[in-house]
């Protein structure tokens, strides 16, 4: 269940959980030269930039050539700023084909960390769907495939784990959004050898702090954060308010950067995947991971401030 307008007590409880988590050394955080900070994938130690690129809605542009070129510009800015993970799903309309078009145009197949999903209620269709997705992306294999929103998860997860065993896939994961089905999510995290989970987490939606993020640490599972801005609603809500002066302490120049810094400063978060249609926003998002991140006190301040606005 999403946490909306959390009380001070809820915020403090969450921060205590985070503080407890940060008492344990976090997954290695490092900085690239002039690029975004990276964090290690727990299961392999490979490093990934803390900011990725989502494609929900933003890359679903059909065959509109003008909008396709705008998406290519967004991808170009993302790679130029040091980005790697792009996430999509067969559910996202033409987004996968848009990504494939961009990768071709930018000749960026070797720069992308390809994260996609298996989204079918009929497990017999799983392999065909993955082949279709791979064809849309124009790649020979995915880095990461996730069972989308736990759909037919038992059978679909078996398909993905088999693919990983056969060397057709590097990482396996599961996804949820907006705090849904966390109990079931937790059970799967305990019972299956996952590399990644994808969930919603931001200064307002903080349910993941209670059980899922600590469990991800315990089970050495990477965490991808979706809907960092609540599909833009959070930014809309904040845009009439001035950014606090203290945001400059972590070199945040916009609310979006402050929110992203809050998310990726959680030690168990591997990567956040904001989606956008604008080059300026990509640069802004990537810059959030290139400058200082908030400490526990600052995180508390961010959550309290945004929760009260």
């Amino acid at each position: 269940m999403s946490i909306c307008n959390p009380s001070r007590r809820t915020i403090l409880k969450g921060l205590l959980t985070t503080a407890a988590a940060t008492a344990i050394p976090s997954w290695p955080l490092s900085a690239q030269d002039n690029g975004p900070k990276t964090r290690a994938v727990p299961s392999t130690g490979d490093s990934l930039p803390l900011i990725g690129l989502g494609s929900w809605i933003t890359f679903n542009v059909g065959d509109d050539s003008e909008l396709l070129e705008q998406c290519v510009d967004v991808m170009a800015a993302f790679f130029d700023a040091g980005g790697r993970m792009i996430d999509s799903s067969p559910m996202y309309g033409s987004s996968q084909a848009t990504i494939g078009y961009g990768l071709d145009k930018l000749d960026a197949h070797d720069r992308v960390f390809s994260a996609d999903k298996l989204w079918t209620s009929n497990p017999d269709e799983g392999r065909d769907q993955i082949d279709a997705s791979r064809s849309d992306w124009g790649i020979s294999r995915f880095d990461l495939l996730q069972v989308h929103n736990l759909r037919a998860w038992r059978e679909n997860l078996e398909t993905l784990l088999t693919m990983k065993d056969d060397g057709e896939l590097r990482y396996v994961g599961i996804t949820t959004s907006h705090g849904r089905r966390h109990d079931e999510f937790e059970t799967i995290m305990r019972d299956y050898p996952l590399d990644f989970v994808q969930l919603t987490y931001n200064p307002i939606d903080r349910a993941a702090e209670q059980r899922l993020l600590p469990l991800a640490r315990e089970r050495e599972i990477g965490v991808i954060v979706n809907r960092p801005f609540q599909q833009g609603r959070l930014i809309d809500r904040l845009e009439d308010h001035a950014l606090p002066d203290w945001a400059s302490d972590v070199e945040a120049e916009t609310w979006a950067q402050l929110i992203l810094k809050f998310i990726i400063s959680h030690p168990d978060v591997t990567c956040a995947i904001p989606a956008t249609t604008q080059v300026a926003h990509v640069r802004e998002n990537m810059a959030a991971a290139s400058s200082p991140l908030p400490d526990d006190d600052m995180r508390q301040r961010i959550a309290e401030t945004i929760g009260e606005l």
């Binding site: 269940m1 999403s2 809605i57 933003t58 679903n60 542009v61 059909g62 065959d63 509109d64 003008e66 909008l67 559910m91 996202y92 309309g93 033409s94 907006h178 705090g179 849904r180 089905r181 599909q231 249609t277």
Partner: protein, 223 residues
């Protein structure tokens, strides 16, 4: 779908308003000047309501069936389905509607000789809105006229005009089945537009409500 109550309408919206409106812009550019022919076809609906001669009704059956078939293929399948996979389930319904209209109007099962004023006036108002006013909605919304939704080229005005024709058709037992798919489309369109925050969402919703009320009115059936 578990925890369905936690979903909002926007969770099912797969595309942005800008992508949606540009569908019509690209569609219009691809098919220009078919829109002029389509407007003339729309006027045929008005002529049929005013002078419902059997041969005109048969012509109208062909025109409406062709329009539903064309919109299903050229707009829904070619343009809309790539950004909205759910539309794949709607396309067969549009094809079915084309066949139903062709059968009902060409065979003479449906007639438009009801002389009572109210259903005819409401039907005419719906058709005039669909053919003349609906294409102007983008201008009122601050969008380019190139994004106009034209009768027989785009689904909303086609569904509204079809409802306008059917509210005064009789017998009711043939008119009702033909209204189901246009009503369903108006509902889908209203949900889509309202979720996008488009003020024009009122158009398909009002048309559907008006058609339903008129058809359900106790004296709507000809004696």
């Amino acid at each position: 779908m578990s925890e369905w109550w936690t979903y909002r309408p926007e969770d099912f919206l797969l595309f942005s308003p800008r992508v949606y409106w540009r569908l019509f812009e690209l569609h219009n550019a691809a098919w220009w000047p078919l829109q002029i022919v389509a407007l003339l076809a729309g006027l045929l609906l008005i002529v049929v309501l005013l002078t419902p001669r059997p041969w005109l009704v048969r012509c109208l059956g062909v025109v409406l069936a062709a329009s539903w078939g064309f919109v299903a293929w050229a707009f829904l399948w070619q343009r809309y389905a790539p950004i909205n996979w759910a539309i794949e389930y709607v396309i067969p319904l549009f094809a079915l509607q084309a066949l139903l209209l062709l059968g009902a109007l060409s065979s003479g099962w449906l007639t438009f000789t009801d002389r009572r004023r109210l259903p005819r006036y409401i039907g005419l108002a719906l058709i005039l809105h669909a053919v003349i006013l609906h294409p102007l909605v983008p201008l009122l919304s601050g969008r380019s006229w190139q994004m106009a939704e034209v009768f027989a080229v785009a689904p909303d005005p086609l569904a509204i005009a079809t409802l306008g024709l059917l509210v005064s058709a009789h017998p009711a037992r043939w008119a009702w089945p033909l209204m189901v798919i246009p009503l369903l489309w108006c509902l889908i369109s209203w949900l889509t537009l309202d979720t996008m925050g488009a003020p024009s969402a009122w158009s398909p919703l009002t048309a559907a409500c008006l058609a339903l009320v008129t058809r359900l009115w106790p004296h709507a059936e000809a004696k």
